[in-house]
Amino acid sequence: MEEKTVKLKINGQLVEAEAGVSVLQAARQAGIYIPSLCELEELPATASCRLCLVDIKGRPSFIPACATRAEDGMEIVTSSDELERLRLDILEMILSEHPYFCLLCGEKATCHDLKVTMAKAFEPGGCVFCPKDGQCDLQRVASYLNIKKVSFKLRERSRFQWLKDPFISHNPNLCILCGRCVNVCGEIRGENVLTVVNRGETTAIGTFYNHPLKESNCSFCGACLDVCPTGAMSEKGLFADRGEKLNSQEMICSLCGCGCELEIESREDGSWRRISPSSQDQPAFMSGCLRGRFGLKEILAGNKPGESPYLRTKDGLEKVSLEEALSALAARLKEARAEETAFVFSESAPVEDLLAFVSLGQDFSQRDVFWYYPENFLSRLKGFEEQNRLEFDYSSLSSNQWPDKGCFFILDSDLKSEAVTLWLKIKKQLRAGARLITLDSGFNSVEVQANLKLKPLPGREYLALLAIFKLWLEKQPGSLKFYPGLEELAGKLSHYQVEELAASSGLSVASVEAAVNLLAGNNHWTFILGERFLRQASWQENLLAVWNLSLGLAAQILPVSSKINEVFLARLATQGKIKIMTETRNLEDLIKGKKIRNLYVYGDLPLDEKPEFLVVHNPFFSRLGKRSDVFLPASFFPEQGNHFVDNRGRLKKNSFCLKNEAELTSGRQAFNKLREKLRMAECPDSESVGSDNQPEALLVSDHMTEFKSGLKRYLLPEEMVLKIQSNLTEDRGGLTFGEFMVVVEQNLDLYSGFDFPTEVSGYNQARNPELVLINPEDVGRQGLQAGQAVKINFAKDTLGGIIKPDFGIIPGVLVIRPLITDSFLSHIYEQGLVRGAVELKND
C-alpha cells in the first residue's frame, strides 16, 4: 500500500496528514483543538452540532471540519472572532434546550452540599445527580468557549425518561441530538435499535414505535453509553464520580472467545463502580458486550465466586475448610478404583489450571480425561481434513490477523452473539464498501446488514452451496481449472439441475443467481463458519460444499469458535491429549451401569444422573455443585493472574487480581495439594506451565498455526451423491400440523454453571433464553400469539418456551436458544436440529 499524505496549513502551521482524514482529525493530530460535540474517531461524521465550523480559504462559507476531507494545499483558520462568536451562538442554541445550570449557575459551588439547584434545573435532582456532571463533553466545550450567558429562554422539553430497561437509561431532556448514539448503534455495532424520530422541535432519540430497548432487539452492548456527550444515555444507577478516587484496572474477559480487554473502575472502598471495554487501543465502543459489561459487574458486586468448600455429610452439604474438603476427597480417591473414576472439565478455567487438571486426571486414572465440548467444532474440522486428506488454510487465524480486506460469506453463525469483535471488524469493512452474504437456516442478527441473505432449510445448507457452485460452474467454466478433480465433480453434478438443487435447499433460483453474481463480481472472499454449521447431521456435506466453493473462488475459510480456550483445547484434543465428550448421555449410561462410580468435574456439566461420589470444582456454587459430595471453589478469572486463549488462538495474560477474602487457591494449587495427599509426584510441569512461556510453546507447536500446502482438489464422494439423491426425492412436507424443525442455537449466557439470566437481575429482560423464535405466518397458522407460553414436544421430552414472532425465521422452523443445563438439552444441542411439535401450555 502506498502511503499517501496531504500537506495543509492550519492556523498558519504546516500540517501533514494521512490522505482521507477529515480536517478535524488532521487538526487533532497536529494538536490543534477544534470544539465538537458530535464527532468521534471511528464514527461516521454527521456534522450535526456545527461547532467545528472552520474557515477554509477559497470556500464561500464556513464549513464543518468533521465532514470535510483534508486536501493538499488547504489553508484553514480554526479560530477567529467571527468563528468564536458563531460557535457561541450555536452553543447558546444547544443550551436553550439543555438544562444549563451546571454551567452558569452562581450557586454551583455550594449546590452539592445545599442542593439548591434541584428545582432550578427542571431536572429531578438537577445537576447534582446528573450522571455526567464533571465528565460531560458539553461542559468541556462550554468552558473552552467561555460562555457567560444564554440569551434564549430555556425550553423545558418535559419528556419522559426511559426507565423500563435494565442497565441503560435515557433522559431525553439532556439530549442535544448529536446523533452519536444512533450512529454507533447502526454504523458501528450494526444493531440499528436507536433512531431519530419526529422532526423539528419534537425531534428525539427513539426506538421502533418507541418501545423499550428490551422489546426492540437491543443487545445491550452499551456502546451508546460510551459515546453520549451528555448525561442523556447513562448506565442505570451510575452517578458522576465527583472527585472520588477511582482505581482503574485492566482485565481480560473470558466469558466468550473474544477475550475483550475490560477496564474495571473501583472506588476507594473496593466497591465496583463501572466496567467498560478498554479504550486503550481503540475506542471503547469498538468491543465488549452485555455479558462483560453489566453481567460481570453483577457477579463481582454480588461476590458470587469464592464460595466456601462443602462436604456432604448425613445432614446434607456442610461448609468445611479447604483442608478438610481436600482430605475427604483424597481419602475417597485412595480407595477408588481408577477405572471407575472419570475426570471431566469444561473450557472456562485458565489454561494453566486446565493443564494441571488434565495431568492430575491422567496420572490418577491412567486413562483419558474428558473435555465436555458440545460444539465439537474445531476438532470436527480437523478430523475432516484428515479424512479427506486436505487442509484448510487458516492463515488468517494463525497470523493473528482477521481478514482485513475483501468480502465475507457468513455460514450459520450469528456473529453478533458468537464473536462480537469479529463482527465489529467486518462491519467496519462493510462501511468501506465490502460485500456480505449470509447463509443461515436459523436466526441471524447480522443478516439485515447483508447485501444478500440466503435462508435455506435447516440441514440443507450444503444443497444451497452446491446450487451456487453449480450455477457458478456453468457461468464461468474457465476460471476453475486450477485444481484437479473438477471434471469428476462436474460430471457428478451434471445429473442435477440448478433449479432442482435450489428448490430442495429451499432457496429460489433468483437468490442463487444473485449469490453467484456477487461472488463472481467481487474478490477476496472469506467464508466464515459458525459452530452451528458443523453441529448438524449434514456437517460433512456442508464442509465439502464450502471446500469446493472456496477452492474455485480462491477464498479463505475462517472457523469462528465462540468460547474461550476452545482453539487451544481443540488442538490438545487433536493431539490426542484429551478426549472429547459431546453430550452427557453416554456418561450417564456409564453411571447408571455402575461403570463410573466417581466423577470429578472441573467446571460445569449438564448432568442429571448423579454418580456415587461427585466432586465439583467450580468458581460458582452451581446446580451441579449443590448435588456434589465434595465442592471445591475454583478461582474465577478476575481473581488471579492467568492465561486464556482467545478465538484467534492468541494467548492473553490476565494480570488483574481481584482481592478475595475467601480461602481460595488457584486450580493448580488445589490439584497439587491433592497430589500430595494422594502421594503422587507433584505435577511435573505445574510450575513451568504457570510460567509465561509454556502455553505459548504449546500453541506454536501445533501445525494448525502453520499452513502446509495440503492436497487441494475438488471433492464429491459417493456417499454425498447418494445423500443429495435422497434429499432431492424426499418429501419435504413430512411435517404434520404443529410440527417444526427446531434449530438449537448457541447461548453463551451460561458460564461455568453461572446462569446469567437467572442470577443477574434484569438480564432476563435483555436476553431471555426461553424465547422461541417463529415466523409470524406460523404464529397465525397455529393460532398462537406473541408472548404466549408454549411447550415444545420432542420425541421423548418437552421444553417450555415463550413465543416470539420474527420475520428472520423461515416458516416451518423454530429457533430456540436454551441454556444447556441438563442432559436432555445437551443431547438436542449436540443434534443441532431436531423435530418438535408446539403446543399451548395449559396452566
Partner: protein, 170 residues
C-alpha cells in the same frame, strides 16, 4: 384512502401484493411506504416489520422515516385527513387564521386527531401550489383560496358524511 379491510383481504396479503414485483431494494422503500399509506391508511407495527425484513432495513429506521414525513400516519382511526398549508405563500395569505378556525370548529389542535369523529387536522409545509393559496387538502382533494367562511362549509361537509364541495381546478 381505502378501508383496511379491502375486499376481505387481510393486512399481510395487502402488503404482500404491494411488495410483489417490487425489487427488495432500499431505494424502493419510500415508494412502498406511500403505497401502504394509500392502501391501508396507516402503519401498524406488523406492516413495518414485514417491510423491514423485505427491504433489509431495520424496523427502527423505517419508524424514523414514518415519523419524519407527515405524509405517513401511525394511527388507524382518522377517516378524514385535513391538511392546511403553512408554507410561506399560504402563511402570508392568512392560513394561520384558517388553521385556528379548523381548530375551533373541530376542537382539535394541529397534529391531533379525534377518534370519535375520525378526523385529523394537521399543518403541512408547502404543497407546491402556492399560486392558489391558502390551500387546504381534505382527503386528497385540494381547496383553493380558502377563506374563513369556507372552513365552516368544509367541516360541515365532513360531519354529514357528504363530500360535496367545489373542488378547485388545480
Amino acid at each position: 384512502m381505502k378501508n383496511d379491510t379491502d375486499g376481505g383481504r387481510g393486512v399481510p396479503e395487502v402488503v404482500e401484493s404491494l411488495l410483489a414485483g417490487l425489487p427488495p431494494d432500499r431505494k424502493n422503500l419510500i415508494f412502498f411506504l406511500h403505497e401502504v399509506q394509500r392502501e391501508l391508511g396507516y402503519f401498524s407495527e406488523e406492516v413495518v416489520l414485514q417491510a423491514a425484513h423485505y427491504f433489509s432495513v431495520s424496523p427502527a429506521e423505517i419508524f424514523g422515516i414514518l415519523t419524519f414525513y407527515s405524509a405517513f400516519k401511525l394511527n388507524q382511526s382518522c377517516v378524514h385527513q385535513i391538511k392546511v398549508c403553512q408554507g410561506t405563500a399560504c402563511h402570508v395569505r392568512g392560513s394561520e387564521a384558517i388553521v385556528k378556525e379548523f381548530s375551533r370548529l373541530l376542537g382539535l389542535k394541529p397534529g391531533e386527531f379525534d377518534s370519535r369523529i375520525g378526523v385529523s387536522l394537521e399543518v403541512v409545509n408547502c404543497l407546491g401550489c402556492c399560486a392558489i393559496g391558502p390551500v387546504v387538502v381534505v382527503d386528497g382533494k385540494y381547496y383553493a383560496r380558502v377563506n374563513i367562511k369556507e372552513v365552516e362549509k368544509i367541516v360541515a361537509g365532513l360531519t354529514t358524511g357528504e363530500n360535496s364541495h367545489e373542488s378547485a381546478e388545480v
